[in-house]
Symmetry: C2
């Protein structure tokens, strides 16, 4: 799935709110007669976009056999333009969109151009009012790689681990001058990517030293000095899964690990 998060109150269905799950679930139920247990790989917050989101849902086998082949074109007509289902198929044995995932990969786009963000890309690009130093951003990011307790960067949640393994945190400047950071981890706490980006931007524009973001990893709770970066710069670009046959084992591992920690 891909969506422009601007006009959605996030993924999760909420009464009276326009959400991705609510909008998608209603149309899937219309097409198949029933659609239950809609489960997503990355529960994006309000305003966050996706180009490579993945979900699974249970529908009647007969309805799939009859209408699965035309599902994509049919949904293209039913769904609003800010939500698209790019591809769909029967789930492989043991597949769970959330628990089978090996990692989630996000991109955050920020520009320090004096004129602000390109109008055709301003819905998914943060305009930063001060110049950003790519080398400083890279140096500060290196200290955050690996498995750590990211409590400083997470909204507190009872009985939930804040230990995460960040396998990539790399910055590049594109041809049109926009800075793009790729952040990949096994999973993320709520608002974690935006908190990491917020801390790194304080280094990038010279307000904090490069050692500051990694230094916060010693904290046992959310660091109030960290400004959470706005949601509109953030896009879920990819979810990685194990190869065929590995879905059930990975799902079991994830479930056990989460309950242990």
């Amino acid at each position: 799935m891909a969506y422009d998060g601007t006009d959605f109150a996030g993924w999760a269905a909420q009464p009276g709110q326009r959400t991705v799950a609510g909008t998608l679930g209603a149309e899937l139920a219309r097409v198949f007669g029933a659609a239950q247990g809609l489960t997503v790989a990355g529960r994006t917050d309000a305003g966050v976009h996706a180009t490579g989101q993945v979900c699974h849902v249970e529908v009647p086998v007969g309805a799939w056999t009859e209408r699965g082949g035309t599902l994509i074109r049919r949904l293209a007509g039913l769904l609003p333009p800010d939500l698209r289902v790019l591809a769909a198929g029967p789930a492989p044995e043991g597949f769970d969109a959330r628990f089978s995932a090996l990692s989630r990969c996000y991109e955050y786009r920020v520009t320090d151009a004096p004129y602000g963000a390109d109008p055709l890309r301003s819905r998914y690009t943060l305009a930063w009012p001060r110049p950003l130093d790519l080398a400083a951003l890279a140096a500060a990011s290196a200290g955050l790689l690996g498995e750590h307790d990211f409590a400083a960067y997470c909204r507190r949640k009872e009985n939930a681990t804040t230990v995460r393994a960040v396998s990539e945190l790399s910055w590049r400047r594109t041809d049109d001058g926009v800075l793009v950071v790729t952040v990949r981890a096994d999973a993320f706490c709520q608002a974690m990517v935006r908190s990491l980006v917020g801390a790194l931007l304080a280094v990038g524009d010279g307000r904090r030293p490069a050692t500051w973001p990694a230094g916060l990893l010693s904290r046992a709770e959310r660091a109030s000095e960290v400004t959470v970066a706005p949601p509109h710069g953030l896009t879920l670009v990819r979810v990685e899964y194990p190869g065929p046959g590995g879905y059930a084992a990975r799902a079991e591992l994830t479930r056990n690990r989460r309950s242990l920690l």
Copy 2:
């Protein structure tokens, strides 16, 4: 300049309408005390975007000396996010944004993906409901290259020539499957690019033969069979000018040529 044309009623100032010229002119007048004779290279229609638009305007010399250096950052704060001034400087001797231009270059984006347009790019990408054949589009485009009377593709206007020289009309399919056509000419009549694209799309999806668009060039007036493609797929990407010292000569040539034809 760059703008998202979605919420503008085109370039030209019109009373009671939100236009690019009206919005920009008001802020330039605010910054410099006065701003007269705002002249643009490509008068885009309602809904058409720009990433490389060029204009000139007359402002008091003293006001420029005092505030020209901070103009871009200042306008970034004053203008709405869908309109950005990317760069500005004193006009070279003889420069006229409209008449000194050698050519205008537009891109039109259209996708034939079964799911429609990528939500983050749907404001500037047309979703086409049938598959498009790149080879057929290229073949039909070849016949439109060169200097012709494009009356079939122009809205009628009294005492105005419809002879134009199209120097590029090339299609490509990008990595994400979107078809992009680049159209370059010395100048365009109103809605000419969208009329050309509309005719070519009828070839691309198999409804018309590849010879049809060029065959219409024999017409003395607008061809009613041509469906004008929607504005939102179209973006003015570049305006080409002669090298330093050539501005005045080119402007004189353009003015004479237009009045002769």
